[in-house]
């Protein structure tokens, strides 16, 4: 495992191009494009104001930089550094800007969600889509880039419009049976649209591409409902995380509940492994990168003071949320399936220090990763079943079915990892600090095993 030197960034704006060749970072009003491998600066663009949002086009040829305060969007080309494009939304204001999947249109949402403006870079044409709904996830493009689902609100009723992204032709427009629609999300195969209600009502509606209602799912009533939703990459499972601290998995054939994952404060599951990361390091045991791991078969020894396999049952620290305030810190807020559909990682907000890994073949708890501080972000390797997570300290934590590794970021001046992003090849990780960023290069498969073995041998010698 190797680390690059540290670069500056602002607003956590750092994106790898979809083809994996370039790394774009924003520093104040400057946009810097580097080569991922050499990290040399290829292009430097200067925007009109501090950049708030930055996005690569799907073909990795253009970069969109949005300055919401000024209602401005600037687009830069990699191939033609002289080419420029500036879109001014004028006095109506701008709250969100994004690329269409073809990389030739820009969708701007105006203030008050008055309309969505579609700017074409091919022609000067401007289209408006009226009545977009201001909600958690109002717009979603299908994975293949063909269709766009847009949540709308007209006459106090929710509608969903399905557009063909090619020419913004309205393919379907239908009313949904929701009180207050909160989001829409396409299944990865682009054939099913999941629509969910706001947290006041537990309701998931599944629509076919042609607008037919396939199924409705509601687990309970009269309590705060859905907090998050995630499709498995194979479109086989739909995981619904709710405020009751449970994840419900629906299957894609009957759209009925397959299983339910609870997040109990006390873990008795004998098949699960609980690991606890500990901040105290022993002086005797020193590795180039302090690598500690755990064996899956729950050997009752702690490899060092860094990670510890806890004997069951394990008590998970629970924070009692303030229920009188809005958006209480309860419920499953984030879920992610691994790329091979095998594992599901979840985080329950009132157990912020813990990430739960579930085995989707066995439909049971596999591991509980307990950290000393609240988990900020976790993401699966896009190629391998490998989970990276950070807790806002100077360490990067990795989990794989074979065990856990924690790595100290060897940067000077207290690099605190706020978020992690995998490179699309899965060979490197981008670690974002508050004002800095750094790349972490994973070893190849063989080397990785070596590291693990090395750690094991060391421990056994000890």
């Amino acid at each position: 495992m190797n680390f690059s030197e540290v670069f500056k960034q602002s607003n956590q704006l750092c994106r790898v191009s979809p083809d994996g060749k370039y790394l774009a970072t924003c520093v104040q009003y400057r946009l810097v494009v580097r080569d991922v491998n050499t990290l040399q600066i290829l292009h430097l663009y200067t925007c009109l104001d501090q950049i708030v949002h930055m996005e690569w086009s799907s073909d990795s040829l253009f970069i969109l930089c949005a300055m919401y305060k000024r209602g401005l969007v600037q687009v830069w080309s990699l191939e033609q550094p002289d080419w420029y494009c500036k879109i001014d939304e004028g006095s109506i204001g701008l709250v969100s800007s994004r690329w269409s999947p073809d990389g030739r249109h820009i969708l701007n949402t105006t203030e008050f969600h008055l309309r969505v403006t579609v700017w074409s870079l091919c022609t000067k044409a401007v289209s408006y889509i009226k009545y977009p709904k201001a909600c958690q996830k109002g717009i979603d493009f299908s994975r293949d880039g063909c269709y766009m689902a847009l949540a709308e609100r007209r006459d106090c009723r929710d509608y969903v419009s399905v557009f063909v992204c090619d020419d913004w032709h309205l393919l379907r427009h239908f009313e949904t049976e929701t009180q207050d629609l909160a989001g829409v999300e396409w299944s990865p195969n682009g054939c099913v649209l999941a629509v969910w209600d706001s947290c006041l009502e537990y309701k998931v509606l599944l629509y076919s591409l042609d607008g037919r209602l396939l199924s409705t799912f509601s687990a309970y009533e009269w309590s705060l409902g859905i907090k998050s939703l995630a499709w498995s990459p194979s479109s086989q499972f739909l995981a619904i995380g709710s405020y009751d601290g449970k994840v419900r998995i629906l299957n894609h054939i009957t759209w009925k509940k397959v299983t339910e994952f609870d997040h109990p404060a006390s873990i008795n599951n004998t098949k699960a492994v609980s690991t606890l990361s500990n901040e105290y390091m022993s002086g005797a045991f020193h590795l180039p990168y302090p690598v500690q791991r755990h064996l899956k078969n729950c050997l009752a020894y702690s490899l060092s003071e860094w990670h510890e396999i806890c004997p069951l049952p394990v008590q998970v620290p629970v924070v009692k949320p303030d229920l009188d305030r809005a958006n209480p810190k309860v419920g499953v807020s984030s879920m992610a399936f691994s790329s091979d559909n095998r594992y599901l990682a979840t985080k329950n907000d009132n157990m912020a220090c813990v990430v739960w890994v579930w085995d989707m073949q066995r439909l049971g708890l596999l591991a509980v990763l307990e950290q000393t501080s609240a988990v900020r972000c976790f993401q699966w390797d896009p190629r391998r079943p490998r989970l990276a997570l950070c807790t806002g300290n100077a360490k990067l934590y990795l989990w794989s079915p074979a065990g856990c590794v924690s790595v100290q970021v060897p940067a000077e001046g207290g690099f605190q990892v706020q978020s992690v992003t995998w490179h699309c090849s899965g060979d490197s990780l981008i670690l974002l600090g508050k004002e800095q960023l750094c790349l972490c290069y994973m070893e190849s498969r063989g080397n990785n095993y070596f590291v693990i073995k090395f750690a094991m041998n060391n421990h056994l010698d000890v």
Binding site: W83, C85, E89, G90
Partner: protein
């Protein structure tokens, strides 16, 4: 004669009087309220008796006294006329006989009155004590009543309080309910109001948005612009197309195409899964058939010839039929098209499954029947192995007993043959045991006797069990034969399987027929020579290595070594112990022992004979 009689009658009266006075003296405190009257009565009595001599009558006043007496007598209702007798001298004299009679009567009267007085006194005592008792109980009951009354009042009070509380609580509940209802209605009204407001606000906001939009459009915002150096080509390199109906149709087509492809993919996956499941199903069927068919062939050996043929032919038919359907369904399943074939497959599987289930059920019921029969017999049916073990153990015990008896006999013989001990000296010598020893010996003897009795009982039980086992075995065989016949008639199987099973037949038959041959013969005679010798021979061989005093007897009588079996190890110790004790026992006990042992001997003699035969 009369005098004698009177004296006789008077005497008890005096005694009686004395006794009564003594009794009165003995218990003065108890009858203290009666005491004064009694004392006074005795006082008057004694006074009068004294006064008769001293004061009442003197020489001078005899006539007066007599007249007084006569008067008194008259008043008492005695005829006093004949008392007075004028003496020839003219002086007053008493006619002795009537006076005496009168006196006697008086005495009688007095006694009667005394007796009645006593009775009355005792009666009074009794009644007084009863009264006392009654008073006591009365007072107690009164106390109790008082207590109960108090309790009752307390309970009443608490009840009243409870009722009050209940009432208040009910009121509370009612008010709470009202409150809840009110709140609910408030909530509902609020919710509706909120919804209404929200809708109104939303409408307003949409109106505002609309207006804003309009304004923006009207105003023609100068700033709203796109500034591009030069326009880009489309990502796919094509030119954009006009929006026409054709395009729309194309979009629709594409959409349906993608949906279709998705459904096709899903169908394919399901089909694959289906095929897998079918494979599993077929395998299951095959295995089921294979499980069910060998049993059938097994049963065939037990059937009579004619039924065998019939059954086998039936089975062939069924088997062929089922095989056909299976093959058909397999083929069809490979085609993955024919609904009919699938149905057939599932049907045949279902049939097989049903058969298996019924088979299992029958087995279950058989098991339960066997259990029931066991329970009816009051004994548990032990498997043959356990039987054999038991038998072995018993045989060992028999040997031990025999051994034991032999030693005892030997010792007895020795003692009888020894010249120095005649009966008396022996008795003397044996008497010289301490009392403790005797006790111990007695205890040991009792133990031995008990053991012997246990053994007898066990032997009896075993005989019974063996007989029962034979019967049950026979019944079971019949059942099995019947069931197998049924199976034969019902089952399907393959020809090749049958062939295979027939090749296996002899082995299976030999296993099943072996116990059949042996067991039914055993209940007729428990200690049949064949089975017995089979067990005794290996032990006899191992007996040579045993260095003990009884070796000689063992070798003579071919008694197997005791220690060779682990089953009887627990009883062995006690047996040996009793053995040593009996060698020292006195003659009467020993003779008794011989009587008891003689019984055993007669039982074991059979066995020993067999051994010698062997």
């Amino acid at each position: 004669m009369e005098d004698w009689w009177t004296t006789l009658t008077i005497e008890p009266s005096i005694e009686n009087h004395e006794i009564s006075s003594i009794s009165r003296m003995m218990s003065p405190s108890r009858h203290h309220n009666n005491l004064p009257t009694m004392q006074s009565s005795t006082m008057t009595l004694s006074k009068s008796s004294y006064n008769v001599l001293s004061a009442f009558c003197t020489e001078e006043n005899v006539p007066q006294c007599t007249s007084y007496i006569i008067q008194e007598m008259d008043s008492l209702g005695f005829s006093s006329a004949c008392i007075e007798a004028s003496s020839p001298e003219g002086s007053w004299g008493l006619n002795t006989v009537p006076v005496l009679n009168m006196m006697y009567e008086l005495l009688q009267m007095h006694r009667r009155s005394q007796r009645s007085l006593q009775e009355l006194e005792t009666e009074q005592l009794k009644s007084s004590s009863a009264l006392e008792h009654l008073q006591m109980t009365n007072s107690r009951l009164k106390d109790q009543l008082e207590l109960y009354k108090r309790e009752k009042s307390g309970l009443l009070e608490t009840e009243r309080q409870m009722q009050l509380k209940n009432k208040t609580l009910q009121n509370c509940l009612k008010t709470e309910k009202d409150e809840v209802q009110k709140l609910q209605s408030i909530i509902a009204s609020r919710a509706s109001q909120y919804n209404h407001d929200a809708k109104r606000k939303e409408r307003e906001s949409t109106k505002l948005k609309e207006r804003l939009n309009q304004l923006l459009v009207d105003k023609r915002d100068k700033k709203l612009a796109i500034d591009v150096l030069n326009y880009l080509g489309r990502a796919d390199g094509k030119r954009s197309q006009w929006k026409t109906g054709k395009v729309e149709a194309r979009h629709e087509g594409e959409m349906y195409k993608s949906l279709l492809s998705d459904y096709e993919g899903r169908q394919r996956a399901l089909m694959l899964e289906n095929v897998e499941l079918k494979k599993v199903l077929q395998q299951m069927k095959r295995e089921m058939v294979s499980i069910l068919s060998p049993r059938k062939s097994c049963s065939r050996g037990d059937r009579a010839e004619d039924s065998l043929e019939r059954a086998s032919s039936d089975r062939e038919e069924v088997g062929d039929c089922s095989k056909e359907t299976l093959d058909q369904s397999c083929e069809h399943a490979r085609d993955q098209s024919c609904e009919h074939a699938r149905e057939q497959l599932t049907n045949s599987i279902r049939q097989q499954w049903r058969r298996l289930k019924s088979h299992m059920e029958r087995l279950d019921s058989q098991a339960s029947l066997v259990q029931q029969s066991q329970q009816c017999a009051g004994k548990e049916l032990v498997p043959r192995q356990i039987h054999e073990e038991e038998m072995e153990r018993m045989r060992l015990e028999v040997q031990q007993c025999k051994d034991f008896i032999q030693t005892q006999q030997q010792l007895l013989q020795q003692q009888l043959n020894s010249p120095c001990y005649d009966d008396e000296t022996a008795a003397l010598l044996n008497d010289c045991y301490t009392l403790e020893d005797k006790e111990r010996l007695k205890e040991e003897w009792r133990l031995f006797d008990e053991q012997r009795r246990n053994f007898e009982r066990e032997r009896h039980n075993f005989t019974d069990a063996a007989i029962r086992l034979g019967h049950e075995k026979k019944a079971f065989e019949e059942d099995r034969a019947l069931w197998l016949k049924n199976q034969f008639l019902n089952m399907t199987s393959f020809v090749d399987r049958k062939r295979h099973s027939t090749s296996e037949n002899p082995r299976a038959l030999s296993v099943s027929s072996e116990p059949e041959m042996r067991i039914p013969s055993t209940p007729a005679m428990l200690t049949k020579s064949r089975t017995y010798t089979a067990f005794s021979t290996p032990k006899a061989a191992s007996a040579a290595g045993m260095p003990s005093t009884a070796d000689l007897y063992r070798t003579l009588c071919l008694i197997p070594d005791r220690s060779s079996s682990s089953v009887g190890s627990s009883t062995q110790g006690s047996w040996q112990e009793s053995n040593t004790i009996h060698s020292r026992e006195d003659t009467p006990v020993r003779s008794k022992h011989r009587h008891g042992g003689g019984d055993c001997c007669s039982i074991f003699s059979l066995g020993s004979e067999e051994n010698s035969l062997n």
